[in-house]
Amino acid sequence: MAIYSAEHRRLMRMLHPADHQDYSEVLSSLGAFMEKEVLPLSPKLDSGEASIAAPRRALFEQGMSRIPFPAEYGGLGLPFSVYAMAVELLGTADASMALSVEIHNAVAEGVLKFGNKAQKEGRLEGLLTGKTLASFALTEPASGSDAGTMATSAERKAGEFVINGSKMFITNAGEADVYLVFAKTKKGPSCFILDAPAKGLTFGQELKKLGMKGSKTHEVIFSGCTVPEENLVGEEGKGADYAKEILHGARIVVAALNVGISRLAYDKSLAYAKERKAFGRSISEFQLVRAKVADMKTGIDAARLLYLYASRVKEMGDDFASEASQAKVLATETSLRVCDDAIQIHGGYGYTTDDLHRHWRDARLLTIGEGTSEVLRMLIAKREMARES
């Protein structure tokens, strides 16, 4: 299997008629690397036999986190759609690694967009090369994506902010060197860069997840944790807006990630359907199996086109919140169905084989994480109703 397939190549040609060859060189090289260095490790990341750290570092060294960022900070300056497709490829190679990397990159995007000159110069090089790993600390035990209701506080004291509270379900927690922390000051939710290790920063037990097991998830606990004043990102009290903007971009990427998962589950199902026999025939000859194959592929292609469309809207500088949310809702829900169909096609083997049901377990996270389908549907409806015709 070539992770970067002829289909991907053709889409790049359609999206970027002038530069598609350069982009395809980048993506096919990255795909070849993932095929050799990440994909074979994926079952072991799921079972806990292998650690994500070394292959993730190798991937960073290849340049995975440089793709959409400007050259002045060490980025490649490539379009967002190229980056999103790179995450799709990584989602196929290993979903948990894609999740870890995607969140890391979302933090880099936040620093680039809302950080001041010193923050950008101090952090981006490390983040883009992956020498430092980042984590995004927004969600709390009692509040999800609704940043306004957060309980974690930051109090200004003698040139510092003192943070108290905790954050829940935090990816890359414990491993990360840089945390983008959202906490409430007098002026409202604000955004801070916190360097680890730090006094007063501790982590709960690693959370036992259904899937995405290669990535590490913990509760992050702040008890009198101090952050220098200059680590405040942007304006005090604007944190909720920043979080929203960062998440809009991340949703496109999460959509791409789920398309990557779906694609692998689909490929495996197709191969199995051709090989497995029942009643003296290959099961791929049965109409009901064929219907599944058709629906799986249709869903994957639609979701892929939609995340690429949202990427292009973002590249053009237009508001892309609705499109990004549509892409995420469609891609994540499609991947659940595709991975479920994959289990059905594999029958008993599907239910009992880690290597197959892990795709469903991995996919299951993302109708919840980074904006639930329910919240996103509200967002889409609200935006579309307000759209001037």
Binding site: E61, Q62, G63, R66, L76
Partner: protein, 255 residues
């Protein structure tokens, strides 16, 4: 140490299509750097890292060979020289002649590296010819180099033995693919490869035709597999029994 590496933009045999009359369609066929050439580039880069110097990559091929040159440059070669010629219409001697002329022009080089053969035609003739034409020592099928001063100790991988030889610089050598694991260029290297110097020369101008008798390809046809292609079905035990029955009938099971 000045190192030349010769690579080939070769038709990817896995993607080769056939026309209705059974001839391979070479016009417009998917081509990329011959897989084994990556080992030659990699070895050049490793020797450069150990002994300083420069790695210059050479190829003879159609203008499309730029892609292959770019890949070698992305891996880390310093610059490239592309001799434009219709490789489908010239033989190994002319290819070696063109490479020798281009290498002389850009040289002198201490070491010229090639792979053992290209993945498309795998004749392995060009490297030794190049050694002769450049008047340099030649060592084929190298799996290990050790350079000390002007002397190179080489391990050669032959069919059933490993031969240790010593050769002086300048040296032309072909390497086997077991010699190393080629690196992946990073994305930055891929993006920047296009900015590295790549010189284009015309083969016809570099070397006049008619220097010697040229071999040519008269015709090509796709080889039909004469295998029986019998598919055996059933439970593992049934399939195993059926397979053994068939093999016994063929008389190929050792007694």
């Amino acid at each position: 140490m000045k190192i030349a590496v010769c690579v080939k933009h070769a038709v990817d045999e896995a993607e080769l299509k056939t026309d209705p009359s059974g001839r391979p369609v070479l016009a417009g066929a998917v081509s990329r750097m011959s897989a084994f050439d990556k080992n030659a580039v990699e070895e050049g880069l490793r020797l450069r890292a150990a002994h300083q110097g420069e790695v210059v990559v050479f190829t003879v091929g159609p203008a499309d060979s730029k892609k292959t040159m770019k890949e070698a440059l992305a891996m880390g070669a310093d610059r490239g020289v592309l001799v434009v010629a219709d490789t489908a219409a010239i033989d190994t001697m002319r290819t070696a002649g063109l490479l020798a002329a281009a290498i002389r022009r850009a040289g002198p080089f201490d070491l010229v590296l090639c792979s053992e053969g290209s993945s498309d035609t795998y004749s392995g003739q060009v490297p030794p010819m190049l050694g002769e034409l450049l008047g340099a020592a030649f060592v084929g099928y190298a799996r290990k180099f050790e350079v000390s001063g002007q002397l190179v100790r080489v391990e050669r991988s032959l069919e059933d033995s490993v031969e240790r030889v010593e050769a002086p610089l300048p040296l032309v050598a072909s390497v086997v693919s077991e010699i190393n694991e080629p690196r992946y260029p990073t994305l930055i290297q891929i993006m920047q490869a296009g900015k590295k110097p790549l010189e284009e020369l015309s083969g016809d101008q570099l070397l006049p035709h008619g220097e010697y008798r040229e071999a040519s390809v008269v015709s090509m046809s796709v080889q039909q597999s004469a295998r029986k292609r019998v598919l055996i079905e059933g439970s593992p035990d049934e399939a195993a029994a059926k397979l053994l029955d068939a093999l016994t009938k063929e008389g190929v099971l050792a007694k």
